[in-house]
Amino acid sequence: PQPTQKSVESDHLATDQNQLSNAGGEFGPASGAYIFRPDGVVPRDLHHMRVLRGPVVSEIHHVFSDYTSAVIRVWDKALHVEVEWTVGPIPINDKKGKEVVLRYASSLHSGATFYTDSNGREYLKRVRDFRPTWNLSVTEPVSGNYYPLTAGAYIQESGKAELAVLTDRAQGGASLASGELEIMVHRRTLFDDWRGVAEPLNETMQGCMNCHSVGLIARGKHWLTLQDPSSAALIRRTFQQRMNDPPILSFGALPKQARPGQLQD
């Protein structure tokens, strides 16, 4: 009877900024390689959702299809939302190539402007369907608005809030509508687009060509931060460093006679 509360919050996320736009995640495949002209409807059906709550971390397990899912985590004391996406093996039995995009929709009024990083350094201003140095005739409404991301992208509602998406690897991203940021996370195509190496992007797990073996599975993370513009850059920059240098774990059996607290020494 009660609609399940789809958002999980940490104390910071709810109180500090007291603005938690319901940034939902949705996948939408596009088709092509370099030049992608998405066709077909973005699947909106959410197959299955599992909500886990605990004192250290709360998670939402989203399953969108049998080859796209995401785990959304909010850690205690966290200032960010972690989205661990898993895509693949991308099916091709329908003879359609697919490029899977993770799109974050928010209630920010960011207009046509968004920002993307350049090799982790300064963030460059981007305006949809526009080039600062010549009059652009828009022939590719989607790929013409995608830019390379190394560390992240963000949108801003001036004076109100900034939504940033930080990536753990080089990806392509765009903002194709106000309040939205989308990032391409994985793809599998069947036809070459005559602009590359005369080979479709059809990697398989065993590295065998066109044997329709299992396509690659990709898994990665995005961190979402929602901050007041005055503090956003500090959070965004330190978080992109933390994303780039995650802690390295090493495991060992407990030395005998050692008690917790002595191990450090």
Binding site: T4, Y34, H48, M49, R50, V51, L52, R53, G54, P55, V56, V57, E59, H61, V63, S69, V71, R73, W75, D76, K77, A78, T86, P148, A170, G172, R187, G196, V197, E199, L201, N202, M205, Q206, G207, M209, S213, V214, I217, R219, T238, R242, D245, P247, I248, L249, S250, F251, G252, A253, L254, K256, Q257, R259, P260, G261, Q262, L263, Q264, D265
Partner: protein, 343 residues
Amino acid sequence: HPNTDSLEEAVSLLQHHDAITGTEKQHVTDDYHVRLARGWKESQKVFTDALAQMVTADSSAYSDAEEVPQHVPGNRRLLATAPHSTGSAHASAQPGPEAILERPGLTDVTQRSTAGSAGPVLNSNAEKVVVQGAAASAHTAQEVHNTSMSFEDSQEPQLSASDQQAITEQMCSAHSEVSTVCADKDQPVAAPQPWEQEEEGSNQRLRLQQCQLLNASVCEPSVQMSKQGQGFMVVVYNALAWERPTEPVRVPLDTTAGAQWAVTDPDGQAVESQLVPVAQSSQDLQSIMVKEGLLPSLDDAAQDELVFLAHLPPVGYAVYTIQPYSSEHAPAKAAVRATMEDV
């Protein structure tokens, strides 16, 4: 000595725009994978040796109590100087960059809590190196001898033989499948796993192992040790030059034995932790990897993860202990299981 040359070479090749966009030919992709895997494996050796070299001296290394720097809670002391340190017992010279650079990894980075200490203080009053790390650079060759972290016999109370026997029997009875410890005397005891400690006389070699498939919740040491109901340690290393007070750590765990688990921090204080089932996508990933021959079996794949927030010092590590929970071990705090709601 181990180096990262092949990783650097692989990454330099991967600067090509095709590699960044993944639009190269398949066989080129496979070549990139081979080079990266080789480079990764090699740099793990460098990392493990460097970690072995980041030494801590046991507290007796200081001339007297007040010398031991006051720890910011969770701020860990990394201490080492040449065995024949010339520094006076009380000097704690501000490190010139050359002081830090000249012995990478063999430097004390003690973040003193005293006022005004802007950055790490090179504390030159340690009398001895407790640990011999790998000669990661020419500077330290004459100071270190082998590649093991050797613990001097600490003055800590030793477990008596009877206590030890009691713990062993308790563990054997609780986890009959434990092989190494409960093996019959006449049965050859299995060779130590790469993460098990080796006793060499009074010294112990600290043996650590990384897991390359942590993002698929696959990790042989943590899964095998938890399967045997054996406590283990997680050394969490922070490469950034700033403290990370609440860094999430996820440890794949085998919970089939039904044991409860507890986490303690480097000071022996209980840490709040939580058991979370791995996502269906992880389980699917694990099965596909087995089916495709990328994983020998699901033996090292976990269905649960133990998560906690670690407090990490700048350019340093913190050692967390994960042990079966027992109320006697106060102030232990058993990991709670997340509530689950399917929609």
